[in-house]
């Protein structure tokens, strides 16, 4: 255990894709139970940044500590962290050959070695929590986008993670379905879950976030409370961004 304050700690984290410098020295700390929204223009490194937390992307310099475990190439550390961090993807990434219920109960059965009946019972409870118990026996292709994303949230929650990551969870959804997903996320935030959400939904950010982080060119431009972020942004780049996205 590394003794440090905070459930997620980034210290001067760098990453390159070939010559392209995606993350240019990210430093921030998150406390347990906090909800942080990351926003910024596309290509600014927001997604890459949160995907380094469960090592779907590797960082090349700096230090990332998640719940006291430092992310290194050690496979045991990576697997330990992945069990504690759930992620929800923009494209859902449900397993198309499994039913909604099987999608959710798969990892508890195989990774946590839960009994099958118990894993399915727990999965059913989670599907109830995200509001689609009646879809349990359907395959992903038979569900709407919003329903698929809610199954994906349930799947991530099934491992009882301490931290939930959301990588633009509503960007691939029809406007009518965005609300049902955001509602689930709002309830999750209220239940005390530690969450990092990459999103363009400024209404959600304003209502739910404890903090908003603004990214541009792989750098953390501004870190602020929602109140200050929307009404009194410190940085000119933030002002420009806000004026562009809030215009419509």
């Amino acid at each position: 255990m590394i003794n440090n304050e905070g459930i997620i700690i980034y210290r001067d984290v760098h990453k390159w894709y070939g010559d392209f410098h995606v993350l240019r020295g990210i430093t921030f700390t998150m406390q347990k139970g906090e909800v942080v929204v990351i926003c910024g223009p596309s290509g600014s490194g927001k997604s890459t940044c949160i995907r380094t937390i469960n090592r779907l992307e590797e960082h090349q310099r700096g230090q990332i500590i998640v719940d006291g475990i430092e992310l290194t190439n050690d496979l045991r550390n990576i697997e330990a962290i992945r069990r504690e961090v759930g992620i929800v993807f923009q494209q859902f990434n449900l397993f198309p050959h499994l039913t909604a219920l099987q999608n959710v109960s798969l990892a508890p059965f195989w990774v946590l070695k839960m009994r099958k009946s118990k894993a399915e019972e727990a999965a059913m409870k989670l599907l109830e929590r995200v509001g689609i118990p009646e879809q349990a026996q359907k395959y992903p292709a038979q569900l709407s986008g919003g329903q698929q994303q809610r199954v994906a949230i349930a799947r991530a929650l099934a491992m009882s993670p301490k931290i939930m990551l959301f990588d633009e969870p509503t960007s691939a959804l029809d406007p009518e379905m965005i609300k049902e997903v955001l509602d689930v996320m709002k309830n999750l935030a209220r239940s005390g879950m530690t969450m990092i959400v990459v999103t363009h939904e400024m209404g959600f950010a304003r209502e739910v976030a404890d903090r908003i982080i603004f990214f541009d060119y792989g750098q953390l431009v501004e870190e602020n409370t929602p109140e200050e972020f929307f009404h009194n942004p410190k940085h000119d780049r933030t002002k420009l961004f806000l004026s562009q996205i809030l215009e419509y």
């Binding site: 469960n54 779907l56 697997e79 992945r82 069990r83 961090v85 759930g86 992620i87 993807f89 494209q91 990434n93 449900l94 397993f95 198309p96 050959h97 798969l106 990892a107 195989w110 990774v111 395959y139 292709a141 799947r155 991530a156 099934a158 491992m159």
Partner: protein, 403 residues
């Protein structure tokens, strides 16, 4: 707007789709006689088709079909001793019983297959075979029904499914040992390179059963992150795919004969089966690799993110999807392998084609080439079509293409 109003709105203005039925005359005009040129083409091709069909019919009516029943035993099981033929029947019964058992336990596709097998055996029993043969044939249906009953009763019992899978896997080695014989218990059949069509079937089953898992492993190996494994698998696949099967078979039969002393050299038949397995596995690997490449990166990420390790991700997430995509290609490979077993004839193994040639050489049956080849064609067609039918049904039940 209240709920009733909303519901009314949803039902409003619904019309049935326009009728698509076309009268026969108009269909003919549209499709066959739309212009002078097409009309002439239609007439010419009709005459051509009729000539061929009538020619075939006339030949079929005049052909000496008696060559088939007279040599049926030879064609199907070669010189397998008559007093041991019950072992062949027993093997067939075992398979029929297992088919029935699976169909009783699951229904669906298995039920169709086993029902068809039972019906075919009953129909065959009606044909003018000797009475003893008819009895044996009816036994197939009895075995299938018995299996069905047991499977139906055992449904729902937990160990029943495990027992079923285990018996299917064990049935192949058991059948082989049973047919071949074991020293001391069942007499070993001498001259076992003379088993006729049964040999093609056994070669195909062994080849399919072994080349599939080996092919999957080769495909995974070719995509491995470890350079040594990747190199070995790639080299194997590319070398085997560059050599014709027949030359591999000759190498297995002649070169091994020169290189290895008889004491350590496996039987010719085993060498032939291993060769066809090794050959087919390389093609299988490339088919499977195609499926693996079609799986999006997001599936790996999602699996890793919920804590699955690499092995579990491959087994639970990637392979089921990848194999489903390539079922048509894999079944095509199975069919090709089955037909390739006729190449065994070139290395002095008496499979169906080779036996046929020896029958043609018999003075009594001179000039029956077409009858015999037609028989071979029909037998192979029935089995290959069954395979492709089963694969289509599997695709359907697995829901390929409706992602």
């Amino acid at each position: 707007m209240d709920e009733n109003q909303l519901a009314g709105y949803a039902d409003k203005n619904q019309l049935p789709p326009p009728s698509e039925r076309i009268p026969a005359i108009r269909w003919l005009k549209q499709n066959l006689f739309s212009s002078w040129f097409n009309a002439i083409l239609t007439i010419v091709s009709t005459v051509l088709i009729m000539t061929i069909v009538f020619g075939l019919l006339r030949w079929a009516l005049e052909a000496r079909w008696e060559v088939i029943p007279a040599n049926l035993k030879l064609l199907l099981v070669g010189t397998y001793p008559v007093e041991h033929l019950w072992r062949v029947w027993a093997t067939v019964y075992l398979i029929a019983f297992l088919l029935g058992f699976s169909s009783g336990a699951h229904g669906g596709l298995m039920r169709r297959v086993s029902t068809t097998a039972a019906l075919v055996s009953v129909v065959l029993a009606v044909l003018p075979f000797p009475w003893g043969t008819r009895g044996w044939l009816l036994g197939i249906a009895v075995a299938a029904v018995a299996g069905f009953g047991l499977g139906y009763l055992g449904k729902g019992i937990r160990w029943c499914k495990r027992l079923e899978i285990a018996s299917w896997i064990l049935s192949f080695p058991i059948s082989l040992i049973f047919l071949n014989g074991v020293g001391g218990i069942l007499p070993v059949i001498k001259g076992r390179t003379m088993w006729g069509f049964m040999l093609n079937l056994i070669g195909a089953v062994v080849g399919i059963g072994l080349s599939f898992p080996v092919g999957v492993l080769l495909a995974l190996g070719r995509r491995s992150k470890l350079p040594a494994i990747r190199l070995v698998c790639t080299a194997y696949i590319e070398i085997i795919r560059g050599v014709p099967l027949i030359s591999l078979l000759f190498m297995a039969s002649i070169m091994l004969q020169l290189l290895l002393p008889a004491s350590v050299r496996p039987d010719l038949l085993i060498r032939a089966m291993l060769t066809i397995t090794a050959f087919s596995a390389a093609y299988m690997a490339e088919n499977v690799r195609g499926g693996l490449q079609a799986i999006p990166q997001g599936q790996y990420e999602a699996a890793y993110a919920v804590g699955l390790n690499r092995a579990l991700t491959t087994i639970l997430i990637i392979l089921p999807q990848a194999l489903r995509i390539v079922i048509p290609a894999i079944v095509g490979q199975f069919i090709a392998l089955f037909m390739d077993t006729t190449l065994f004839g070139f290395i002095a193994i008496l499979e169906l084609l080779n036996i046929t040639r020896s029958i043609m050489g018999n003075l009594e049956w001179r000039g029956t080439i077409f009858e015999l080849y037609a028989f071979i064609g029909i037998v192979f067609w029935i089995l290959c079509y069954s395979m492709s039918y089963v694969s289509r049904r599997i695709e359907k039940t697995l829901g390929v293409g409706e992602r």
